[in-house]
């Protein structure tokens, strides 16, 4: 699959150029090409007067390209001053670190960023926004000519945001080019000179920010019509399977969730990355138990403290991170599929390889998993087929509620529509489905109802055929029709 197709992007000195797009539109890939983490298949990069086929991270840095990632890449065991020192200029191995001047430099840079952080604090003790400010200080200190900021405000407080805006304006004034990625439209209007919108790995145009309205920007992002390739809903949903009342969990940053999912219904969960959707799923699956609120399953209040308990209650969760939490690549498909049903399939803990194989073969056939057999290791499958194995594992538990987290991420187009058909088929059989997806057309096309999350809470519940614009607006925190 191609993450990026023929994108042109340019950045002038002393400019803030915003990059906008849905999750998975290709922003991260573009950044990785600019910072040298990925090599482009085609095309060239031009930095100053130098034209290049591709970059290495070291080369990119030498050219004055600095990137502030969402997840700061600092050394948690070293102090702030040590981190800044290491990042700015790799000192010669046997040189003595000038602690005093390093500390002073750190103090100066932190002051420029307006951060009240002790240079002697260990980075592990800092909060996420503080770490981000340290990253920005590093970029400032390195004298970067190009600074890329990947959603820098995602975890900042209001006050820190204002400081950051000041820093960005400072950078611009001193002739630095800033690539600014954010989902928050108001930030783009406040800071950016130009904006480039990406969609499905392609650029849909670069515009001067002052020429655009909020609404026009959202339209650019959403763009296309929702295709008709989604399997239609049929029949009326049945009784309520899952009902959440005021569900909160401080650890997951989720608060006051009210939601119902009925049998035979697909509820789509839209929202941006970090809006709390996966966190909600983790609460329901007993990974991070809720602090307060009620989970009613089939009208009965339940509490989940581990995935085991959740599974016993009839909840299944197809996780987002397929490699870490889903399919074990080294193990055969059959073993992967039966992992969650050991007690039922193997009474007395004794493996019954025949029934295991036949169960696996059933799923391979029913879900159309393309493989040479149940003994094939998970790693031999394509992404889409791995996802089908992951779904199979959970269907084998015969759940009442199926939670899918980004079910078609990293899946090619053909397998994607197959997975959609499977999901719809399951709903038709009476399963309650909660589908988290950052793929807007998918949410719009598949869902009977759409719940939109933002900042750890549900901001809107919209009907199935809702307008893409409204969903996006709710996810971005713009004035949408608030129905919830």
């Amino acid at each position: 699959m191609r993450a990026l197709k023929g994108v042109s992007f340019d950045l002038a000195a002393g400019e803030v150029h915003a990059l906008l797009g849905e999750n998975g539109a290709g922003k991260s890939t573009l950044i990785k090409v600019i910072t040298g983490a990925h090599s482009p298949d085609e095309g060239t990069l031009k930095v100053g007067d130098e034209t290049l086929r591709s970059l290495t991270p070291a080369h990119a840095r030498a050219l004055g390209i600095a990137c502030i990632y969402q997840q700061p890449a600092l050394f948690p065991d070293l102090t702030v001053a040590e981190n800044i020192g290491l990042r700015l200029k790799k000192p010669k191995p046997f040189s003595v670190v000038k602690r005093g001047s390093q500390r002073q430099m750190a103090i100066d840079l932190l002051k420029r960023v307006g951060a009240e952080i002790s240079p002697d604090a260990e980075v592990r003790e800092l909060s996420m926004p503080e770490q981000q400010l340290v990253e920005i200080a590093c970029a400032l200190g390195s004298g970067a000519k190009i600074v890329i900021m990947d959603e820098p405000t995602a975890s900042l407080t209001q006050k820190e945001q204002h400081l950051l805006f000041g820093v960005v304006k400072d950078l611009r004034a001193s002739g630095v080019g800033v690539v600014y990625i954010s989902h928050r439209l108001e930030e783009i209007f406040a800071l950016a000179d130009r904006v480039t919108v990406l969609r499905d790995g392609e650029s849909v145009g670069t515009h001067a920010v002052k020429d655009l309205t909020e609404s026009a920007m959202i339209k650019l992002m959403v763009g296309r019509e929702v295709a008709t390739l989604y399997p239609p809903a049929e029949g009326e949903p049945g009784e309520t399977v899952l009902s959440l009342k005021g569900l909160s969990c401080a650890e997951g940053g989720v608060q006051g969730i009210n939601l119902e999912v009925r049998a035979g219904e697909i509820v789509g969960m839209a929202g941006l990355v970090g809006a709390g959707r996966t966190e909600l799923a983790r609460i329901l699956f007993g990974i991070t138990p809720a602090d307060s609120g009620e989970i009613l399953l089939g009208g009965k209040a339940v509490k989940m403290h581990s995935p085991r308990e959740a599974i016993a209650q009839g909840i299944a969760y197809v996780p987002e991170d397929r490699r870490r939490h889903g399919v074990i690549l080294e193990m055969p498909i059959a073993h992967n599929i039966t992992m969650a049903v050991h007690p039922r399939l193997f009474p007395g803990t004794w493996l019954r390889k025949k029934s295991e194989t036949s169960l696996a073969e059933d799923f391979i056939r029913d879900l159309g998993i393309k493989t040479y057999g149940p003994e094939a290791p998970g790693g031999s499958l394509s992404g889409g087929n791995q996802q089908k194995v992951s779904v199979s594992r959970w269907l084998a538990t015969k759940p009442k509620l199926l939670i899918l987290d980004e079910p078609t991420q990293g899946v090619d187009v053909g397998a994607k529509s197959e997975i959609h058909r499977i999901i719809r088929g399951l709903a038709k059989e009476g399963l309650a489905v909660l589908m988290i997806s950052s793929d807007l057309p998918e949410v719009l096309g598949m869902s009977d109802r759409i719940a939109v999350m933002r900042g750890g809470t549900i901001t809107a519940v919209l009907p199935g055929g809702a307008d893409a614009h409204d969903v996006m607006a709710a996810a971005l925190g713009q004035s949408g029709r608030e129905v919830a």
Partner: protein, 342 residues
């Protein structure tokens, strides 16, 4: 990415089976060399000896396999043997327990010690290497403390000593126990959901939790089993030596780990077989014994049989290094070659 859809060719299966096959060839080669060069290597008495002198290590290797499959390690089994041997001696000689009852107590003490490891590793989620390093010292230290540093217990009844020195149905008595343990561990690892879970946990502890496996309970089982069998091995050791003292099983943990890794179990967890471990153990045990039988040849002006223990240790170490290094080395060479071809 792997390419999908290609059917499992014989060669692919061959790769999985290969380690055991190679190891089998190593064992066969050892047998061939020793029967040619050694005196009376294949004699009935000697074959019995091979096992008589090594089943304790073999048993530890067997139960080390599930531990390593979960991605852990247990350095404390050798010390556990020392502690259990001492406890056994005290129970029989001072508390006047019958050997059978004392043996059961020994196994229970082993399981309790394994339980301590399990609690620290599975419950408090501490690194196995350091936890078992601590219990390695603790168990041996308790054994030394209980014997006041030097005391040993001997003078066990003949019927008990028979366990270590007699034959039952043509095989050394302790070999029967070993076979039972081997069968048990084999069934556990390859035919129960526990074994399946060990592997899954070794490959991906997080993924296993998401799949609803009882991660902590399975890890605990592996360590408790290791402790219990160490207790059993201690009893056999005492029966063979005729003496219970604190230094029983010194260094055995390393020999056991060597046998497991030699047998192809990945130290990172997940993959490995009980058959591999058995072959790994056999390769070490045969090597150790066979060199003792080479009395007619000299190396560096010394009879090989006189330096059998050192030589077999050295060869085991080298074998282990080769076994570890061969796969990554071949991979690096292969990528070099393919790069130079492009």
């Amino acid at each position: 990415m792997h390419e999908m859809s290609s059917a499992p060719s014989k060669s692919l299966k061959g790769i999985f089976a290969r380690h055991e096959v190679v190891l089998l060839l190593v064992v066969a080669l050892e047998v061939l060399i020793f029967s040619l060069l050694g005196r009376n290597f294949l004699g009935e008495a000697n074959v019995s000896n091979i096992f008589r002198h090594s089943v304790e290590i073999g048993m530890l290797a067997l139960v080390m396999t599930p531990v390593i499959l979960t991605g852990g390690i247990d350095l404390s089994v050798g010390s556990m043997m020392g502690l259990c041997a001492v406890c056994f001696g005290i129970l029989v000689k001072e508390a006047q327990f019958s050997p059978l009852l004392a043996a059961l107590c020994s196994v229970a003490i082993g399981a309790t010690g394994g339980g301590l490891n399990a609690f620290l590793i599975a419950r408090l989620k501490l690194p196995p290497l350091i936890v078992t390093l601590g219990t390695f010292s603790l168990f041996r230290g308790l054994a030394e403390a209980l014997t006041k540093g030097s005391k040993s217990y001997s003078g066990f009844s003949d019927s008990f000593l028979a366990l270590g020195n007699s034959e039952v149905a043509g095989l050394p008595a302790q070999l029967w126990i070993f076979i039972a343990v081997a069968l048990g561990v084999y069934l556990l690892v390859h035919h129960t959901t526990f074994g399946r879970s060990f592997r899954a946990i070794g490959y991906s502890p997080e993924g296993s939790r998401y799949a609803g496996l009882a991660v902590g309970r399975n890890i605990s089982l592996a360590y408790i089993l290791a402790g219990a069998v160490a207790g059993l091995a201690a009893v056999i050791f005492v029966a063979r030596i005729g003496e219970a003292r604190a230094n029983a099983g010194i260094g055995y943990e390393l020999l056991a780990i060597t046998a497991v890794v030699l047998g192809g179990t990945s130290i990172f967890g997940g993959s490995g077989t009980v058959c591999g471990t058995l072959l790994g153990y056999l390769a070490v045990a045969v090597l150790n014994n066979g060199l003792k039988r080479i009395m007619d040849y000299e190396l560096l002006d010394r009879k090989i049989s006189d330096m059998a223990s050192e030589l077999s240790g050295l060869l085991t170490g080298l074998l282990l290094i080769v076994a570890l290094a061969i796969t990554p080395l071949l991979r690096i060479l292969a990528t070099r070659r393919s790069r130079s071809q492009h």
